[in-house]
Symmetry: C2
Subunit: 164 residues, 2 copies
DNA sequence: TGTACATATTTGTTGTCGCAAATATTGCAA
DNA sequence: TTGCAATATTTGCGACAACAAATATGTACA
């Protein structure tokens, strides 16, 4: 007879609850701006990238979506005018997703409120040292479960492939 | 011009990466046992509940699924014989989802490996004090973002608030 | 008592995502 | 150069989940 209340299970349960709760908490602000969670992630990753662009496959690697998933997210964002596709000059198979001015503006609209949300439920909730420890633990976990997840980042690109 | 690399954003990004990575890491073992993530969560919550049963709506509250989502999860699990529905004697609108013996056996099959996975990527990765701090931070977050998420738990409801 | 409102669950509909297959292009090697 | 394996993206398809409507039942109040 096993113990269904094993501390390891409750640890994961707590993490799931906290994570789901955070995402649910962020949703209203994003929804009000007409962005789904994944829309927001896509758009901000583009905003962070050089020339506000990323290849579809790199976007897939960064977001964890399948490549077909990325195709459809970009379809939607393109339909809304927040992103446009641009052909890759050096590889005709590939295409870039590029953040448009409208996309950037949309992002700038939500960001302040979103940052406030994060502050309210995460960064502002813990002391400086607590937060540091928390993020440190998360990094340890991430490094174990996600060997290479920074595709498309210029400097890390070669490194990521090397470790593959 | 806003900063798209705000530490608050990277904090959330790190949390998302770690969480997604963990779930992806757990998936193979569960899939091998014919259980999806949500199947497993449903089944273990039933296993933890008095008389291995929970009302559909309580299951919804605990898992975060919509009630229609629970209907369909239980449909699938019932089709597989892991769960059965049972009428509630005191309220003819309600019904219980009850873990069957087969469901319990299935759970006992995966649990050891699943616990090992959790150990490998979370609980065994951090020192005792790190883990305690980590869980403490998660509790703070959860208590802010998820006021009451323990529906159907008889005694634990008050306790959950007390540990805040 | 009976009427209106609240609650529990299911069903219809729609949107999203992953997998596999299809298509286009590249790069390597004979 | 030609042919073949590898890579980038898109499309077809099936599974899953949320929302709203439908159904059944319970509860409270006039």
């Amino acid at each position: 007879m096993l113990n269904f209340d094993d501390p390891r299970l409750t640890a994961i349960g707590l993490l799931s609850e906290a994570y789901a709760g955070l995402m649910a908490r962020f949703q209203p602000v994003l929804t009000a701006a007409g962005l789904s969670e994944i829309d927001f992630e896509t758009v901000i990753r583009l905003a962070r990238s050089p020339w506000q662009r990323l290849r579809m496959s790199d976007l897939a690697a960064q977001t964890g979506l399948s490549t077909s998933g990325v195709t459809r997210v970009v379809d939607r964002l393109e339909r809304e005018g927040l992103v446009r596709r641009e052909a890759c000059p050096t590889d005709r198979r590939a295409s870039y997703a590029v953040l448009t001015d409208a996309g950037r503006e949309r992002l700038e609209t939500v960001l302040p409120q979103h940052l406030q949300d994060i502050d309210d439920c995460l960064t502002g909730l813990l002391s400086m040292s607590e937060l540091e420890a928390f993020l440190g633990s998360l990094r340890k976990i991430r490094d174990v479960v996600r060997p290479c997840a920074t595709a498309g980042a210029v400097e890390t690109d070669a490194e990521a492939r090397a470790t593959s």
